[in-house]
Amino acid sequence: MRKILFIVEKEFKQIFRNVVLLRMMMIAPVMQLVLLSLAANFEVKNLKIAVVDQDHSTFSRRLVSKFQYIDNFKLTGFTPSYKLAEEQLLLDKVDIVLAIPAHFERDLYRDNRSGVQLMVNAIDGSKAGIASGYAATIIQDFNGDIRIENVPMRKGEVQQVDIVNQYWYNPRLEYRTFMVPGILFELLLLVGGLIAALNIVREKEMGTMEQLNVTPIQKHEFILGKLIPFVVIGLVQFTLGLIVAKFIFRVPMEGSLLLLYVFALLFLILCVGLGLLISTISDTMQQAMFVAFFMLVLFILLSGLFSPTENMPQWAQWLDTINPLKYIIEVARNTMLKGSTFADVRSHFFALLAIALAINGLAIWRYRKTV
């Protein structure tokens, strides 16, 4: 047990001596948390819209003016023909084209129906879906307006349902409230996992590993001695991240802070253990870096940070049962935003505990003092 302390002391000295790395380890995640959280926004804003108005009627002008007063859209101008509009789409000058055909107003009065066309640049499909949804809502609004003006309605004749949407835990639908906890843990995994992955393999490359291997140090002492410093550093990073989340992004903290720290500790033990496992099975730092990178990318993509895990196919969900990032992001969102208690996230706790024990066990087992 005493020997572990000597390793911990030595690791800390080495970490603090590498000023460049230390600085990067402390500042980079915080900066990234700030920048990435600002950037991570699926909201669709500032859509450039061009109009092909072939009707030139009161209705068509009113419809266009509705688009002018909505924040999401920026009217770039009128285009005389479809052909020119299509060309603007092609050159990314506009994102969406609203085409109002000739006789639009006349048809509405005469036939009780008419149509408009939306052309949406759909290379980014999800963005296109949202954009066309916005536009359709505006057109429907307009439709409602003219209907009320022109068709007299008798009260009580139409059966109506009023749908009230409530968004709990994030009533203003802030992207950041939702992204920040996720990005915070993603960064912890990235930094903790990578630095740990490079640590043991670095000793191998430097030749100091061989010197350690002829000492009577025991495997678990060695792995624990390596684990503790990086977990401690991770906790410091986590604290910095929480401060940023709280004071810059105003992410609520509904649940118990202690509970969150317990989970962060468990998660860090897991990440660093994973890094150490990778380190013990690699021969060069480059190899370790790539193995680590490969796993981290997998974990991040499947974590639910970018797209909800429930929507994934069965095989991906199976894979996800061993994805620590998935569990911790769920826990973070649940405790921070909803105030979940330990009882609510108990299953996550045991899943993370099982993975952490398995990975660290493997790391100890795979660390060979003899070749």
Binding site: N18, T215, P216
Partner: protein, 243 residues
Amino acid sequence: MKAVITNKLTKKFGDFIATNAITFEVEEGEIFGFLGANGAGKTTAMRMLCGLLTPSSGEAQVAGFDVYTQTEKIKQNIGYMSQKFSLYEDLTIRENIKFYGGIYGLRLADINDKTAGILEKLQLQNVADALTASLPLGWKQKLAFSVAMLHQPKVVFLDEPTGGVDPITRRQFWEMIYEAASRGTTIFVTTHYMDEAEYCNRVSIMVDGKIQALDTPKGLKETYRVDSMDGVFQILARGTSTK
């Protein structure tokens, strides 16, 4: 009790036989020279004795412990210094000594005493808190040897400890070896400096994984009728090359 006993100790890497059934014994307190050209199998043999490599076949005991089953016991009783300087360059001299002292389970008071002793002996008091990386190679090697001796091992293995070091420092280094041996530590040393071979009590010469000769330097020179160890080595090395 013998410090090292081997019997037909062999290590194969695939088809390649790095050490081929070597058999020898090393007495306690002896300075045992382990000679051979590069690639003759010296380092492999040494790594097996230190418990860094598992042998393919044969037997060996170090400090009375078996190399297959009791490697951790062996590690408690040996010191090792590899060809490559392997203390932490980004730790200071004092920190390196403290770390290895701790790993070998020395008490803090002992570590402090030993540190003071080493610093004084190597005259490194002024640079005790400088990074090891800043030391010249010769000093590094002397420091590495002192660290390998920290826990007063029964046997110490030195793998080409004086490679690339100037003659004066080499001399000083060998003085340290003699001193350790006089206190009862067995020294197992590889080298390819033939003048250093003369300093050993007994010398073995390995060629292509086998031990071709083993005797005192004096005995070897008489057997091969030459007046230097260099001569002995030339004959043995050339002997195999013409085969």
